[in-house]
């Protein structure tokens, strides 16, 4: 239909040349990406802790399973469009539009693959639930993490110390983070140690980790929380038990007390806070932060008691309820 004159005056490329160009472009692109990513070892594919490692293995498994579909479909797509392009001498069946066996096969194969993945999903959703304590002979270290505008506060309730934008943990010891927010929602994430969990005001979430290796890992918030969001990052320093204990005692001995005045100072929005260490005087600092978002007077507690029973209960740091279970409306 299209007349010659309407075309751009470029010679049409033969089909093989088009294919060669695509292959070459893909190869060059892959080579560049390989070069760019060589030596990068700080992401979720290089786990340094128990949970992150199991999550990485699960990712690899799911990727391999999906290749079972991707590879044949790619092969079929390119084979069919190559073989059945206009002008071929093969059979042409314009009215062939159904085949019970074939259709059963391609309803069946995805059902089997998804069935396998669904079973794995069911098991891992429970075994890798961030609320689940990790098996270990040692009792877990308790750390309370508070997302603030725009810094992270870490409280060690058993050691009575606190730190800002840095958290120190012992290696090969389970650590139980109890997480909340004193402001907008954030997400608490240490990619090399474990997947993330939201930090929400008035509620507690939990995350268990266990770091294998000594080292400094990056921690960050992955949920937008306002102007200083990009600076919601913290360092996770994993060290041997003795070094960790050393750090605790220096922290306790040598720094300022985190009292109400200091906390209200800290609560003001600020960006790029330097690492700071505090002694903690009040043992219920974390609970106070959560209670800030509870109902301020008893009359309101009364009115909401019927529809949102668990909201009126003051969550404590030992509270293991999942927050979505607390939703009155769910």
């Amino acid at each position: 239909m299209v007349k010659r004159a309407a075309r751009l005056r470029l010679p049409p490329l033969p089909r093989w040349a088009v294919v060669c160009i695509w292959v070459a472009v893909t190869a060059i692109f892959a080579a560049i990406l390989y070069r760019l990513t060589k030596g990068m070892n700080h992401g979720i594919l290089n786990p340094k802790g128990e949970i992150a490692e199991r999550q990485r293995n699960l990712l690899a498994f799911a990727a391999a399973l999906s290749l079972l579909v991707i590879v044949p479909v790619y092969a079929m797509l390119f084979a069919f469009v190559w073989r059945y392009r206009e002008g071929h001498k093969r059979s042409y069946k314009p009215n062939w539009d159904t085949h019970k066996v074939y259709e059963t096969i391609w309803w069946g194969i995805p059902i089997i693959i998804i069935g396998i993945l669904a079973a794995v999903t069911w098991v891992t959703s429970h075994s890798l639930d961030p609320y689940k304590p990790l098996a270990s002979s040692k009792s877990p270290v308790q750390i309370q993490a508070v997302a603030m505008n725009w810094k992270w506060l870490f409280i060690y309730p058993e050691q009575n110390i606190a730190s800002v934008n840095e958290v120190v943990i012992p290696t090969n010891t389970p650590v139980e983070f109890t997480i909340t927010s004193d402001g907008p929602m954030n997400s608490f994430w240490i990619p090399q140690l474990a997947g993330q969990i939201y930090a929400m005001s008035g509620m507690s979430t939990k995350l268990h980790i266990n770091a294998y290796d000594v080292g400094s890992y990056k921690g960050l918030s992955s949920n937008i929380s306002g102007t200083g969001f990009s600076d919601m990052k913290f360092a996770v320093r994993a060290m041997h038990q003795t070094d960790y204990e050393q750090w605790i005692s220096t922290a306790y001995a040598s720094h300022d007390a985190l009292n109400e005045t200091v906390y209200s100072q800290l609560r003001k929005p600020s960006i790029n806070n330097p690492v700071a260490l505090y002694r903690v005087i009040s043992s219920d600092l974390y609970d106070t932060i959560i209670a800030r978002y509870m109902h301020p007077d008893s009359s309101q507690v009364k009115t909401t008691e019927e529809n949102q029973p668990s909201q009126t209960k003051l969550p404590t740091s030992q509270d293991t309820d999942h927050p979505m279970h607390d939703m009155g409306g769910m």
Binding site: V69, V81, P110, A118, S125, Q196, K233
Partner: protein, 660 residues
């Protein structure tokens, strides 16, 4: 002065006009663009023409063209936002701060997401439905032509508001779904979140109305003989989509309404205090938001089904499977919303349920891909531009689907949630699935609407550049996700070593830019060469469905005589002499007269939105009164249709045939 203050309220301020030079660029582009349109219409004396032929028209095809034009304008703006983000992240490593501050960067990505979903994808979708659905069903129009026009003007009101935020005020800096408590007054006191709220609130109501319209059109307006199971798969996909829209959009309206009550009236649905609960909003918005992504992609699946069958010159393989797969996807899309927040701490049972429901959707989707492939098998495939988009779609969408299944496993999601891996995933599905699909559809149906084809080789070049640019832009983004890069960072620590990958991604974006430029050139060149590209037959692709049985461009009344079909692919069979679809006598029919009702409601809706954003309560009352007045006046009007007699219809048909 006091009077002025009481009229303008306490929110408006001169400060909202000036934010800095980068923002000035946006202001200049918006005002310049608007002025250029006004000046052009005035200079060429086209105001009367545009009013009579377009703005007041109730012809679905013209409304479809207007939707498409607006969506393309928004595509360019949304792409501009994408370029700004890529440049910023490429530059802002370490000491270099780039050219956007945090607040502005956050506005840019919020606008990008909002615009691409609500104003580009939804606009192109409603555009295409309007262009072809009635033709495909053998109908002269949609069920409610005026409602159709009103829907379009509500969408246009949203478009005006979202662009007005560039000129006066600011946009939300909270992400495209504006999670509270960040989007509450406490943390976002400015008018930005309100611009976001009211622009999509108004456009969203238009979408709900459209859904009613198209569902009734499909159920009541099909021509004689077209049973549901004889409908083209595109019509089925629209049926599924519109059921989703009708059930999902009221949830969006409700959640936005509650958030606006929080912000305007000091209520506490979603605040942290006084019993409010942000998790409610997040659940509600995703209960709309997940069906929404299927609302976008199902019509694209419908388009691919038409394109593949036409260009393979073969019946669509597994029609019944295709229909069941569409309906299964529509159903399951309601049962998966919580997969957007596995990380909220819902526990193993809840997460596993939503994860498994999510991966189940991969089954019918996979079936559709196999059916398309086996439509190609033993066909005679013509490689026109729409087929290039189809091949581009399969190659990209497969990867997007696979990464989606990975994200559906909660334990994996904990590691990639809110990371750039997620960003790459949904661009993979939305660009590969939705955008390529709509480009295929626009290329395919363009001659039916305008009477000439788009230039073929430029189209193929655009498709090639798009797919190359897509992979170059988003494979690095996937890798960045693996490296622990989260979304929405306007700067990052140089020690992470992310910069080279951001540069690679920016280069890919430049290639996409070339692709978009090629498409604009393609459009311009095709208009210039429209004589050579003219479609004289009305059936340029050797099509299968009813729209190809009428001349191109399709007449206002679509069919002089309504067709009667006896099978699927009725036109294909008619061409082979197996059946006659135009038999029987010409009959009288009525066409809707032009009306300015939609325009007036659109203007009132824009005023209402603006007033609500700036807390001008008196103006809200004025706007609502205006809507009521316009509607009552319209109801009083009995003279809304023109009669075309059987004799006239016969004559019109004969003239068209003689011209062809």
């Amino acid at each position: 002065m006091n009077l002025l203050a009481s009229i303008l309220g306490d929110r408006m301020s001169w400060d909202y006009f000036w934010h800095g030079w980068v923002q000035f660029g946006g202001q200049a582009a918006t005002i310049g663009g608007a002025l250029a349109v006004v000046a052009g219409l005035t200079y060429f004396k086209k105001w009367g023409y545009i009013w009579r032929e377009w703005l007041t028209s109730l012809d679905a095809k013209k409304i479809g063209v207007m939707y498409t034009v607006v969506a393309v304008v928004m595509l360019l703006r949304g792409f501009g936002d994408a370029v700004m983000m890529r440049l910023q992240q490429m530059l802002a490593s370490g000491d270099s701060k780039g050219f956007l501050d945090a607040e502005h960067f956050q506005q840019v990505f919020t606008a990008h997401g909002t615009i691409m979903i609500f104003f580009v994808a939804m606009g192109l979708m409603f555009g295409l439905i309007n262009l072809v659905l009635p033709l495909m069903l053998g109908a002269r129009d949609v069920a409610f032509p005026l409602l159709n026009s009103i829907s379009f003007y509500l969408y246009l009101a949203g478009f005006v508001l979202v662009n007005l935020s560039l000129v006066y005020g600011e946009f939300g800096a909270v992400g495209w779904l504006a999670y509270p408590p960040l989007s509450e007054l406490q943390f976002s006191p400015g008018p930005g979140v309100d611009y976001w709220l009211w622009s999509i609130q108004i456009a969203g109501i238009g979408s709900t109305l459209s859904a009613i319209n198209f569902i009734v059109t499909i159920l009541r307006m099909r021509c004689k003989g077209m049973t549901l199971m004889r409908m083209p798969v595109f019509a089925w996909s629209i049926f599924a989509t519109m059921i989703l829209t009708l059930a999902a959009f009221p949830m969006l309206t409700g959640s936005l309404f509650m958030l606006s009550l929080d912000r305007m009236m000091g209520m506490h649905y979603f605040t942290s205090e006084l019993g409010g609960n942000a998790m409610m909003y997040i659940n509600l918005i995703w209960a709309w938001g997940h069906p929404e992504v299927y609302i976008l992609v199902l019509p694209a699946f419908g388009i691919y089904s038409e394109v593949v069958a036409t260009f393979a010159r073969k019946k669509l393989f597994g029609y019944t499977s295709m229909v069941w797969a569409l309906m299964a996807i529509a159903l399951f899309s309601y049962l998966v919303w919580a997969h957007h927040f596995f990380t909220m701490g819902a526990g193993g049972n809840v997460n596993a349920f939503f994860g498994i429901m999510t991966m189940i959707i991969a089954i019918p989707t996979g079936v559709k891909v196999f059916n398309w492939l086996f439509t190609l098998y033993k066909g005679r495939i013509r490689f026109d531009a729409p087929m290039w988009w189809f091949v581009a779609f399969v190659t990209t969408f497969l990867i997007g689907g696979a990464t989606g299944v990975m994200l559906a496993v909660p334990a994996i999601d904990f590691q990639v949630h809110n990371s750039l891996f997620l960003v790459a995933h949904f661009h993979n599905t939305i660009i590969g699935g939705v955008v390529f699909g709509y480009f295929a559809g626009l290329t395919y149906w363009f001659p039916k609407i305008f009477g000439f084809k788009l230039h073929e080789r430029l189209g193929k070049l655009a498709a090639s550049l798009w797919i190359a640019g897509f992979f170059m832009a988003f494979i690095p983004i996937y890798i960045l996700g693996f490296l622990g890069a989260t979304r929405r960072l306007e700067k990052f620590d140089p020690s992470y070593g992310w910069q080279p990958l951001f540069i690679a991604s920016a280069i890919g974006t430049a290639v996409i830019g070339l692709a978009v430029a090629t498409q604009l050139v393609q459009l311009g060149y095709s208009i210039w060469k429209r004589k050579q590209l003219q479609d004289k037959t009305g059936d340029p692709w050797n099509g299968r469905t009813l729209e190809w049985s009428v001349p191109s461009p399709a007449p206002e009344y679509n069919f002089a005589r309504l067709p009667v079909v006896h099978s699927r692919d009725a036109w294909w069979h008619a061409k082979q002499g197996q059946a006659n679809i135009y038999e029987g006598a010409y009959r009288d029919f009525e066409l809707p007269k032009n009306t300015g009702t939609g325009v007036a409601i659109g203007i009132a809706a824009t005023i209402f939105g603006f007033a609500a954003i700036w807390h001008l309560w008196w103006l809200c009352v004025v706007a609502v009164t205006m809507v009521v007045w316009v509607l009552v006046r319209r109801m009083m009007n009995e003279d809304t249709e023109v009669l075309v007699t059987a004799a006239q219809a016969r004559k019109l048909d004969a003239t068209r045939k003689a011209a062809a």
